[in-house]
């Protein structure tokens, strides 16, 4: 898979440049559907996640649908983030982490022996809770980091195009186009988070995972990111962990509710369905209690 994956990324980058630039996302916010492309489905079957002896997530079976935003909600410590990190094999970075079950990306088992986790993470990108631009790099280099770090030498003209396209895609281009050489840490929190989103989409992943991307941001920046998420779903499969109920109801198409039966018990997937259904007529009592704010 190694060599094939690398060449595929390159040809795709080349093709995307000409295909996407004319239908510029940022200049015409309404015209996203034109740049829509088929994304990939993640299928999760009976996944259990552990940290050493701690059983963190129990028996999750669900699908993350393509070109939709799937929100993972639930109280703190119920395993949402752990589950999200298992979708791009970041879970196993913890030396004590274990998992059982099966996760497939368009039918291909990402945990199969012989699958390189590095390749999985190229296809399944991630945005983290707190903005974490690389402090040693400029805004430009932060966005180009995926190219610089992975594919070695890339032509400057190609890089320029990828950087501009990604920054436009993340609604940041107009704010930073005059200071691309300045360090990324000089931006405001909301800008930094959009920079991180630009960095993630610059490598053209199939799936974008977001771990509470707005929890460190003010309402205005949050709204900007939510609008961005709405546009990104035309090109990517998106899964987002959030504590914010309104955010889940505003920004997502599908909502999955995770819960603990009791403290010390593993987190479980209680219910998954269309966001509207989950928020208006949930089938489980626990879901109703949570979304109506009765606990959690």
């Amino acid at each position: 898979m190694g060599a094939a994956g690398a060449t595929r990324v390159e040809t795709r980058t080349g093709a995307e440049v000409s295909a996407t630039l004319p239908g510029d996302v940022a200049s015409k916010p309404g015209a996203v559907a034109a740049g829509s492309r088929p994304a990939k489905t993640i299928d999760v079957r009976e996944v259990n996640l552990f940290y050493g002896d701690l059983h963190a997530v129990e028996d999750v079976t669900m699908a993350v649908e393509p070109n939709k935003v799937t929100a993972l909600i639930g109280s703190s410590g119920c395993g949402k983030t752990t589950f999200l990190r298992s979708l791009n094999r970041m879970h196993e970075l913890n030396p004590k982490a274990r998992m059982t079950g099966e996760i497939t990306l368009d039918g291909q088992d990402i945990y199969a022996p012989g699958v390189d986790p590095v390749q999985v993470r190229r296809l399944v990108g991630m945005v983290f809770q707190s903005p974490n631009p690389f402090p040693t790099m400029s805004i430009y280099d932060n966005v180009a980091a995926g190219l610089n770090l992975n594919t070695g030498r890339v032509k400057k003209s190609v890089k320029d195009e990828v950087v501009e396209r990604s920054l436009r895609g993340a609604h940041l281009w107009n704010e930073v186009k005059d200071r691309l050489e300045k360090p990324g840490s000089g931006l405001s929190g909301g800008q930094q988070q959009r920079l991180c989103i630009a960095r993630a989409i610059a490598v053209e992943p199939e799936v974008l995972l977001m771990d509470e991307p707005c929890s460190a941001l003010d309402p205005v920046a949050t709204l900007a990111i939510e609008e961005l998420i709405g546009e990104l779903k035309s090109k990517y499969t998106i899964a987002i962990v959030t504590h914010n109920m309104q955010q889940a109801s505003r920004a997502s198409d599908i909502t999955a509710f995770f819960n603990l039966e009791a403290t010390g018990k593993p987190g479980r997937l209680v219910e998954i369905g269309a966001t509207e259904a989950i928020f208006t007529s949930p089938s489980e009592q626990a879901t109703e209690d949570y979304v109506s704010g009765r606990f959690g």
Binding site: N88, M90, V118, L123, S130, N132, F134, P135, L149, C196
Partner: protein, 342 residues
Amino acid sequence: MTALDARVLPDWAPYGAVAASAAFSAALLSAAGAFSVALLFVLTALVACVATYAWSRSVEGSRRAFDRLVTLVIVAAFCLALIPLLSLVFEVTKRGLPGLSLEFITADARGKIGGGGAAHALVGTLVITGVATAISVPIGLMAAIYLTEYGGGRLRRALTFFVDVMTGIPSIVAGLFAFALFALIFGPGIRMGVMGSAALSVLMIPIVIRSSEEVLKIVPNHLREASYALGTPKWRTIVKVVLPTAFAGLLTGVMIAVARIIGETAPLLVTTGVVDSINSNPLSGRMQNLAVYAYSEYRTPGVFKQASYDRAWAAALLLIVIVMVLNLAARLIYRRYRTEIR
């Protein structure tokens, strides 16, 4: 009077109290006929502590009085720690300046009875230390990367333990180790600069490992994860993200290690020996070094004793200046490349 509007001492109170204590102590010591700078310092500190506490307690109450007392004790401890340093720099400068001249840093001592310079020792110091740094930094850095990024379990614990043990090795033992090693390989009587570098590396590597390890540990994990999430392999993450982020700290660690070994005497005495002429080839023959030069000028002064002593002090001063310049350079680079780590 409200609770917020408490009475406080004026801003100059601490300085005034110390000045008054110093004057009082000086008068007391002179009257007793036992005046000395050391006694004056101790007595001033004691009197100032007592006086400040009493004064502050009577005006401001016990909590502020205690705060002032602790502040004073800390300042006194700081001054105490500074005294040997300042006195050493002062003494070395005073005695070293007469011997320092253009000839001292440009001429060697070959065939010059009672004269000549220390150029051979200067060259030797730079070459030996440079080679030692070139050996130690890659090894130490890679060991530190192993410890922070890869190592786990028993091997990691064992390595950390032995690195700690290595920092305690007496430097003469490192010298004898290098001596024995090269004698075994090249036969007895071998002398070359690299032997000294090898000995110094034994001392330097554990320092580099320890300092680099601490610096790499504080590189936040979320930066590594951000890199992994872009599909970057671990080694590239280390090279392109972790090391650049830690660069300034790593450099400081290396500078501390260099400063620690540049003045070593004993291991070089047994490995690189004593010589009078410039030798800039670390792979053949004896090499002089500033610390060894100072030692031998003082130990075997020859006919013109005072000139020899002057040269020994000048060599010591030169060594301090080199370390200072290196440190200043490191600080400049540190400021230039420092990254804000959140």
